[in-house]
Structure formats: C-alpha cells, structure tokens
Amino acid sequence: MSVDLSIFQQSFFQEATELLNDLETNLLHLEDQKEDRELLNTIFRCAHSIKGGSATFGFPEIAQFTHGLETLLDRVRDGKVPVTGELCRVLFQSLDQMRALLAQGMGQSNLVPDDTELTAHILALSECEPGGPTATSSPEQTSQDAKSSSVADKFLLHFAPGPDVMRTGGDPCLLLGQLLEIADVESVTRNDLGIPPLLEMDPEACYVAWDIQFQSSESRDVILEIFDFVSDESDLRLEMVTPIEDENPEIATAIPTGQPAAPADNISRPETTILRVPADKVDRLVNLVGELIITQSMLNEVTLDFEMDRKPRLLEAVAAMERASRELQERIMGIRLVQLKHAYARFPRLVRDLSAAVDKKIELITVGEETELDKTLIEGLGDPLTHLVRNAVDHGLEGPAERKAAGKPEHGTIKIISRYEGGNVIIEINDDGKGLDRDRILSKARERGLVSESEIPTDDAIYAFIFHPGFSTAKQVTNLSGRGVGMDIVRQAIQGMNGSISLSTNPGQGTSFRIRLPLTMAIMEGLSLRVGKEVYILPLTSIVESLRPSPSDLSLITGKHPVVSVRGEVLSVLALHEWFGIDGAITNPCEALLIIVENEGHKVALLVDELITQNQAVIKSLEANYRKVDGITGATILGDGRVALIIDVPGLLRGMNHERGLATRAA
C-alpha cells in the first residue's frame, strides 16, 4: 500500500499556521506570566505538534529546526531552564524562523533567514549537546524488506510473556504469528508448568512460556523488534545457535527507510483553500437536507392528484420547504463564517514590537473577537486593520511623558471592539491618544487645494480628508507609517468589501475608527425595483427613503441636470432608465418614484418606475460570467427565473459625479 502524503499537506499548512499563531499568543502571555506551568505546557505542545507534522508530511527543515526548540521548551517546562527575557526573545525569533520555513514549504517565499546563530542560541539556552538526535535522522526501522543475507541463521528463543501482557491489550499469539512470517520453525516447546490450579487461576493473566527453535535470515534486531512492545515485562532471550561467520549482515540491514519526501519544489500545489468546519455544523446541514427531501416527497404526493381540497396540505408543505431552505441557506452561509480573532491574532505581537520600537507603553484590548465574519472578508481585513493599528501606535498614542503631562495614565490603550449590528459587523479601533489635529489637517488640505481659503468645512468633513489619496500630516516620515499611502488604501479596501469606514475624534481623548462590513458577501438584503421592463436590485443598506415628488420640488441646474428638493435638502436626480438606456420607462418623476440612496454621506435620488418587494438576493458575480460593469455589483436570479442586476450604489455615484463633472466643465 502506498499513500501519497502530499494530500494532507494543505491540512498541515493550515494547522501549522494556526499552531504558530497560538504559539505567538501564548508567548506574549508568557512574558507576563513566567511561572504559568499550564502555559508552558501549551507552548511545548505547539512546538511538538509542528515538529511531528512537519516530519511526517515531508518538511524535514521545519522538523529539524523545531526539534531543537522542542528540546529547549521541554527543559523550560521541567523547570530546568528559567523563563527570562532572553529566552522570550529567542522564542519569538524561533517563531519567526518557523514562519519563514513554513512559508517556504508552502511555496510562498524562499526567504529563509540563516538560522545558524539562532540554533546555536537555542542550544546554548537548553545546554544541550550539539549533535543530539535530530528529527529526521531515525525513522524507526521496522522493515521486513531488509532480507539482506540469504544465509539463514539458527536461533533459540525463550519467550515468557509477563502475566499482565493481556491486560495491556497485548496478544502473545499475534507476536508468535509475526515470528512465523520471518522464521522457519524447527521445534516449539510449550512450557505450561506455570498454570495454577483452576480455582487459583486468574483468567486474565498469562501463565504460558515458549521455547522456539527456528531458522531465519533476518537479523537479531529485526526478530527482537517483533517483541519490543512486551520486552520489558517478558522474559525474552534470543540466542544464536550457530555463530555467524560473517559479521557483516548488521551493516547490510542498515538500509535507510523511506527518505522523507523531498521538499515539494516540483509538486504542483492545488490552489484550493481549505475551510475548516466544525462537524456539528455539517451534521446539521445533513439533517436539513434530509428535511428538504422529506418535504419534497410530501409535495410530490400532494401534487400528484391535486384537488382544491388538498390546498391546506400543499401550503403546509410549501411552508415547510421554505423553512428548511431558509435555514439551510443560513447554515451554509454560516460555514463560511470565521471568528474575527483570526484577523486579530497578529496584533498583540505587532503592538508589542511597534511600541518597543517607538518607546511607548501600549496595552491592546480586543472585545468581541468571537464575532464571525465571512472568510473572504476576514482575509481582506488583515491589511487595513494592521494599518489602523500601526497608525494608532505611531500617531495616535503619545509617549509616556507626554501622557503623564496630560494627566493620562502612562499606558496608552488601543481597544478593538467588534459586534453585530443588524446584517453588519461593526469593528471599532479606538485609541485614547491625542486625537486628530483638526487645524493641521485643514491647513494641509488648503495647501493641497482640497479646500479654498475662504471655505470653512465642518469638522467631520475636515477629518474625512485623511482618507484622501496621498494625504499625510505626519511631520516626519517614520519607519512605521506616515508615508502618505495609507488611509485612502484602507478606505478602498473596506469599500471593496462592500463596507464603509468612518471616524470620530476628540482632541486630547483619542480617535475611533469605525468599520462596517456586511456579514457575508454572497447574500444581500435588497429591494427589487422596476425600470421599464427591467428589474434591478438595490442593496437595502444604501436606501434612505423613497418618495413621489410634487412638480414644485423639481428643478434643473445648469439647465440640464434635474435636482429635487427634499425637506430643504437639494439632491441630484439620476434617472436609471437614462443611465442604463432603457426604453419604455416613466420619465416624469412626479408619476414615478424617487429612491434616495446614500453613500459616504453623499445622497442621490434615483428615478425608478416602482418598487416591487424586499428580498434576499444571492449575488452571482458578473465578472466571472461576463465582465465588470460600472455601477453593477453583480446579478441575481429572481423567483420567476429572470435575471436581475444588482446596483452598486457607490460605483453609480462615482460614475455620475464623473460624468456630470465632465459635462459641467465642458459646458
């Protein structure tokens, strides 16, 4: 039998990544709780598991490196090596090294720092002799294919299993059976003198012994190895009856077992990502599918000879179907949900390293990290969040002296709070630092011509300038941030995930960024609406209100673009039928309907024929099936089988501003 171990590599990668993250978290705790035995055990276990897995699945470099680390951790765990700052530092370095090795194994990078010094450091700390056992050096030799010598030797084996052999699940007969496979038995003498009278006999004990004379071409070690599980408790003697003339078989049997699979440079890795799903979630899905099938057969039966008097049963079946399919949908979506703590995992380390670099004292608090979010979103959140945390460390929070002078605790705090809000997840990144400098942002904005000298924008509008491309008020470009790329990228990334970001700040008290993301990207609450004969879906989250204007509310600016006045607020009107080029739609707003949509505080009134209903739209990618279309997020399939396009409100507004901006300038 041969099993290709590479099919488990994806699992191993994922697991190793998680283990390294756990290791990191625990190392961070270790700095505060140097005496915590359980913590040390956990840390050891992480390293141990990584070593075991990497050796098994063909990554000897990782195994070899981790072996030294494991030895050190074992000694730390036993209290033989103290937990010191130096030890923690080496452990963190080792963690980085393992990450680099793993990335190399995954084919993501080839940049593995030289570990000679680090390995030496680890050895020095564990006071371990170099050249100790290495993880890859001694896979157990159980090979039966080492039939090297054709010359059979004669052996005499005395085997008296311990009385308790069966109590540990052992079976002497099996071992003798194994012996038979490699031996030609000449004689067997069973010694059952030890069997006591029936009344004194313990039926679970073994009283029998054997003397077996046999010939075998196997070496003494291979024969003894059959009995290795019981050798300690048994009386086991193996004597060679005829002395060997040739002392060489020992060498010949030392054939290495299967080399660990070569690091898979040339193995093409599947690009699949693996989703780990708790078994009970899957079980529940299976149950639901079962329910669906039952309802289906119920429907079959009801509709077969349908009479009107059976309508209640039909409705009942349809209702059951709806319940099951809705729950199925929710649960399947739930499979893609991952806890936010995976996105947060890197922050404790990040904050620790960064705050050390800038000499600040910072505490990181995360709240609600069990909040779940779509896996794709979690992955996309990593970089924007990292940027915000970096910013908070570098710009937001002050140094201890400055904080003290301001009457604040020396320790700055960064608090990341996440929670559900409706169909969204809210993530807040708060710091209790000095807050944004309103005047500096304003003068910078004036400098860059974003605001005219006379204009005095609202505070919110001023703070929003930090999201402008290339906008940075950092006086000095530091190593951490302040290179002027940043907040606009953060905003783009968040918007790319259908989310939004806003901020609030209080001078002297801190800054808070608020990210809002849809729970999942694949399903959306929407309002279906009609324009001519076409049906579109508008995301519910962007809709403010709908109204039918009276003629007096409408006017044209620059003689061309219609606007509507809604309770004193003047909004542009965008006629969807014009935008999408649809004939047969109602063109007079007073006979049709205006839907006010909002994005980033910017409101527009969309002209549509009528609203149909609110529904859940399963988003199908347009890009994957056709190509990207401005103003359209994707498509969905309506209950009657028709395709409806989903309107991308931010994209639509951008497009409109662009076009009207051009038109105005051209006019």
Partner: protein
C-alpha cells in the same frame, strides 16, 4: 462488518493521515481531538467498544496517558489494543505508556505502511 478504530490526536493533519491509512486498510474510523473527547466517543461507540485505539500523547484537555488509564478502566476497552503515537525524543514515554496500559507504540514520523505493520502486531489480521 468492518472493524472500528478510534484515532485520538489534536493535530488534524496527523489524524487525517492515520485515519486515511486505517480506512485504506478496511477500518471504519472514529476521530477525537483529545482524551476527553475520545472517552466520550468510546462510550458512544457501538457496545462501548472499538477494535483498536491509536492515540497521541501530547494533547490539550486530556493527555494521552490519562486517556489510556481511563480507557482501561472501562470493561469494554479492557483488552483493546492501544497504540501510542510518540516521538523519538520521548523514549521514557514508552515506559510510562506501558505502565498505564498501552499495548504498543509507533514512533513519529512514520509512513503509512509502517503503521500498518505495527497494527499487525497487536490486532489479528
């Protein structure tokens, strides 16, 4: 009816590998991520009995040695072959394992066919 093996390891990849090997050899496999879970699954197995147990030693919640000790107190698992997954750096673990009732061990890293050969030493073919 196929024989049932209980595979206990906190490492998913290791568990998958062992399970895959066992399934390939005709076992049906129950998996558990730690000793406590393994005891629960053992109790829930048909007749509270499995034909073979393979367990890692270093695990959270309940380690392998504690699990073996506990399993041996169950009448249904009194004589069940129990193999430990151990590492070459854990030589003394073999003795500790035997002391609490393990039948044998296999040293990590191992290849699937090595596992099958070790199983043949504790379970009739």
């Amino acid at each position: 009816m196929s024989r049932v093996a209980l595979v206990v390891d906190d490492s998913t990849s290791m568990r998958q590998m062992v399970s895959y090997t066992l399934k390939d050899a005709g076992f049906s496999v129950i998996e558990a991520g730690n000793g406590q879970e393994a005891l629960d699954k053992l109790a829930a197995a048909t007749g509270g009995k499995v034909d073979l147990i393979i367990t890692d030693l270093n695990m959270p919640v309940m380690d392998g040695l504690t699990f073996i000790k506990n399993a041996r107190t169950k009448p249904s698992a009194k004589f069940t072959p129990i193999l430990m997954l151990t590492t070459e750096s854990g030589e003394n673990r073999k003795a500790e394992g035997k002391a609490v009732g393990a039948t044998g061990w296999i040293v990590k890293p191992f290849q699937p066919d090595q596992l099958i050969r070790v199983i043949q030493k504790v379970l009739p073919a």
